[in-house]
C-alpha cells in the first residue's frame, strides 16, 4: 500500500520492513544510534527551522525499536544521535533511487548532524537502511 512521504503510514511501513528484513538485521547488527530526518519544505534550505516535518527512528542492532512522524510545530520530537536534514524534494530523490545517498552527503544535499565518522565507518548499514526505505511504496511509484 502506498504511503506519502513523510507520513505516519510511511514510518509505520518502514518500521515493519526494517524489522522483517533479514539482510538489514545482519548488516546493521552492530548499529547503535537513533535517527531523525528533518524534512524541509522545497525551496526552504535546511537549517531555516520553519515548516519542518520530522521522522524519528530508534535504530538498534539491526532492529527499529520505534518510529514516529512529527508534523510541523510538533513539540515532542525525541533527540537523536544522528540528524539528517534535506528538503522534501531531495529526500524523495534519494528514496526514488534518483540520488545516491553518498553523493547526497558529499554534496551537502543531505546534511548530517552527528558523528560523520560513525556514519562513514558504517556505510554499508546506511546504504542498506536506504534500501529498506526504498521498499516503502510511494504514491505512483511501485517499489521492486
Amino acid at each position: 500500500m502506498p504511503h506519502s512521504f513523510p507520513s505516519t503510514g510511511w514510518v509505520e511501513s518502514l518500521v515493519a520492513i526494517l524489522n522483517e528484513d533479514e539482510r538489514y538485521a545482519h548488516v546493521a547488527r552492530g548499529w547503535e544510534g537513533d535517527l531523525l530526518f528533518e524534512i524541509h519544505p522545497d525551496g526552504d534550505g535546511p537549517g531555516v527551522g520553519q515548516g519542518v516535518q520530522r521522522v524519528y527512528l530508534d535504530l538498534w542492532h539491526g532492529r527499529c525499536r520505534s518510529g514516529s512522524f512529527h508534523e510541523v510545530g510538533s513539540l515532542n520530537v525525541p533527540k537523536a544521535a544522528f540528524s539528517m536534514l534535506a528538503t522534501k524534494a531531495q529526500f524523495l530523490r534519494i528514496l526514488s533511487g534518483e540520488l545516491d545517498p553518498m553523493q547526497a552527503m558529499l554534496t551537502r544535499k543531505l546534511q548530517v548532524v552527528g558523528s560523520m565518522g560513525y556514519i562513514l565507518r558504517n556505510v554499508p548499514v546506511v546504504l542498506d537502511f536506504v534500501r529498506c526505505c526504498r521498499r516503502v511504496e510511494l504514491p505512483g511509484q511501485p517499489t521492486g
Binding site: 552527503m105 558529499l106 554534496t107 551537502r108 546534511q111 548530517v112 560523520m116 565518522g117 562513514l120 565507518r121
Partner: protein
C-alpha cells in the same frame, strides 16, 4: 595516460561532514592538473579506500595530497593498472 590504483589505510575518519566535504573538495581541485582523480571505493570491513587515478607518474599523484590528508589516509600501495571494460565484450 597511465592509470594508477592507490590503496589508503584509513587512520582517522572525518567526524564532521563539513570537514569531509571541504577536504575532498580541495583534493578534487588539486587533482585536475597533471593528475586526475577518477573514482574511489571505500571498504568498511577493512577500512581501506581505493582510488583510481590517471597521471603521467606517481609523483604527480602524491603532489595532490596535503600532509594532513596523508596522515589521515596513508598510502598503503600505489600500482599502475590497465583499464579493461566488460562492456567491450558486448
Amino acid at each position: 595516460m597511465p592509470r594508477y590504483l592507490l590503496a589508503h589505510n584509513i587512520a582517522s575518519m572525518y567526524e564532521d561532514q563539513d570537514e569531509w566535504v571541504r577536504d575532498w573538495g580541495g583534493l578534487r581541485k588539486r587533482a585536475r592538473g597533471a593528475a586526475t582523480w577518477l573514482a574511489s571505493w571505500y571498504c568498511a570491513e577493512t577500512n581501506r579506500l581505493y582510488c583510481e587515478w590517471e597521471a603521467p607518474d606517481l609523483a604527480s599523484i602524491k603532489a595532490c595530497f596535503t600532509s594532513i590528508e596523508l596522515d589521515m589516509a596513508p598510502i598503503a600501495s600505489m600500482e599502475e593498472v590497465v583499464h579493461m571494460d566488460p562492456a567491450w565484450l558486448d
